[in-house]
Symmetry: C2
Subunit: 201 residues, 2 copies
């Protein structure tokens, strides 16, 4: 029996192995790293896990993650409250914020409609979106779900639900990625780029 | 401000980012994974870290990691107590145990002599090894430090310390790895393989 089989170490390796993208060897390396940390630092790691789980929840308006009642974006007075960008995941909010191009609010669905995985509109934050559209003066909803079959279907489904409310619904542009190479673009992307061509002014 | 900047989440991402081989993106992915775990499982993860740190220490005989006073190998009555295999790291014990070829005891140095990194014999578990050799009926010490400059130097240093005690000191064989290709073996390995050639019987 080697040290890997010492029960507390085996349990720690097992916990690391459950993380996405972490295999057996990496889990062992991480567990040994944690054992070698200076006094107090492993405790800080454990405390960070517990604190994040206990204090982070969804913003009561946009459903993004926050540790307060309302997230920093929904609380910011300088944001344009007439535009809502609908995304699948909190990470997508971070990606769009990084562009510094968008000044509206967000709505995080926490998933996409996917009958294969048993996810219907009721498992997503769709009710909350419709409530916002009814109660607030929203002029435009930008669908920014991923360009996948499920992302597309979810955007179309929501667009139909929103249409009767008289709110403009738009979709992120499809096209060739900046810095990409036409030769390597797939057919669907290329035909969408052709469809969406714009005037060179 | 996106959810990445929510302080408890930012702290959790930072903790993951300190782990070896984990970059910013992976740290974010792991932090979100932990937030999405079913209730109680993040707590188990935190508890595994604390438990491992609190209960794991070095075996009082061989210095391998254990949660008891003496590790399972040192406590096993069927192991050959006249042979000690000296390794750098607890992971090396696990590697040799996997071969199921070795039935002696171990001694874990917890490092190698490396003047560049300020590691001398006093930072290693050398005293403990010498004490074992003086107090117990050891016949052979097998040096199984890594085939690096530091590993070699440490093995030679220990061999000289041990010589006066009248204990046989051996070294793991060097040679071409099984399944390897002569063409791709480096010169040093190949010349060591020639030196160490044995009779085909």
């Amino acid at each position: 029996m080697s040290s890997y089989q010492v029960p507390p170490l085996a349990r720690l390796i097992e916990q690391f192995e459950r993380l996405p993208g972490i295999g057996r060897k990496t889990a062992q390396r991480l567990a040994f790293f944690v054992l070698d940390l200076p006094p107090g630092e492993a405790e800080q790691f454990a405390a960070a896990i517990l604190e994040a789980r206990q204090t982070i929840h969804c913003c009561s308006i946009c459903q993004d993650l926050t540790d307060g009642d309302v997230c920093a974006i929904c609380a910011a007075s300088e944001r344009d409250r007439a535009t809502i960008c609908v995304v699948e995941d909190p990470r997508d909010v971070a990606a769009i914020e990084r562009t510094r191009e968008y000044n509206g609010l967000y709505h995080v669905l926490h998933g996409v409609i996917s009958p294969m995985d048993g996810v219907g509109p009721d498992q997503l934050r769709v009710k909350e979106l419709l409530a916002r559209l009814s109660n607030e003066a929203v002029e435009e909803v930008i669908m920014a779900t991923n360009p996948t079959v499920e992302g597309e279907a979810t955007a179309l489904y929501l667009a139909r639900l929103i249409a009767p409310l008289g709110v403009r619904v738009t979709r992120l542009a499809y096209g060739i990625p900046v810095g990409g190479d036409l030769e390597y673009a797939d057919d669907v992307t290329l035909s969408r780029a052709l469809e969406g061509r714009s005037e060179l002014s």
